[in-house]
Symmetry: C2
Subunit: 148 residues, 2 copies
DNA sequence: GACATCTGTAACCGATCCACTTACATACTT
DNA sequence: AAGTATGTAAGTGGATCGGTTACAGATGTC
């Protein structure tokens, strides 16, 4: 299945912003942590901003920061903020209506897929951004942040 | 996220085979129900055969049939039979190790992704192929099968 | 044994998607 | 005004996917 890395990137970005707290960070700094291009970061930040997860300021001394406490941000929110379509692709074209199975299979699968995706999001809802930050930075990681 | 329609196709194929019971069906017949090309069907049948979900016979009067009772086939089995990689893509390249978040974020996300996928598969495990067949063919669908 | 049928697989095509990159206009601080 | 940072459009190269063609091999029927 394996689709895009947008979700991994988004969680990573928000975790860094959680780490930086009020200070926030520029798309350049975040891109250095991700080892990618600043535009990739800005596109993701655009989605995260639409979902009211971050606030960003333009111009000199600008950048982005979390608009909420990391303890109150669950991973399913992040998922919904950046993943557009459904997890499973349906039939690319209509099945044969003259087949008794093909006639109704799409509706059945829609329901099955929806319940599977619901279960997945509920699992994500159990984790907050604060959990991720804690786990990612616990023990032996007391050094100061150094981008590149 | 939306990836491939392979899972939808696979469930559809197996549902038709469940409908046809001992009779089974050729890749041509299945392709007609899916409105796709027989080779697409055969490629999927190949995966389903490796997972011991179907048996197929070559040559004249050949075709595929379920190797188990539909009541004993759960959708998560089908999912694992045909979906290779993980549901979520990880970072395409290593994050910056000099960033305290980038250093360990991959391990954290691996665990989060695994638990989300596990939850999804558990939801799929609640449905059997027999359930799908019943729901897809209940009421008003008593007509005989007519391919094409 | 010859023939028709059906499978398995390789190879190719066109479309799509994605991460990445370049480029540039805009906005904000100092 | 200068410098810094964002937002977004547009283009690129690679990968993936559904679909298609082609063909060799297996199997039942005549």
């Amino acid at each position: 299945m394996a689709a895009t890395c947008r979700f991994a990137f988004a969680v990573h970005i928000l975790t860094v912003l959680a780490y930086k707290e009020r200070e926030g960070g520029t798309s350049d700094l975040l891109a250095h942590s991700l080892n990618t291009h600043p535009v990739i970061v800005r596109r993701l930040l655009s989605d995260l901003r639409n979902a009211r997860l971050v606030e960003t300021q333009k111009g000199s001394r600008g950048g982005s920061r979390l608009s909420r406490c990391p303890r109150e941000i669950t991973l399913d929110e992040i998922y919904r903020a950046i993943e557009g379509g459904p997890m499973f692709s349906p039939h690319p074209h209509r099945p044969n209506r003259r087949c008794p199975v093909g006639r109704k299979i799409e509706a059945v699968l829609d329901e099955v897929f929806a319940s599977a995706e619901e279960a997945m999001q509920q699992a994500l809802a159990l984790r907050t951004l604060a959990d991720v930050l804690e786990t990612a930075t616990d023990s032996a990681s007391s050094g100061p942040f150094k981008a590149a």
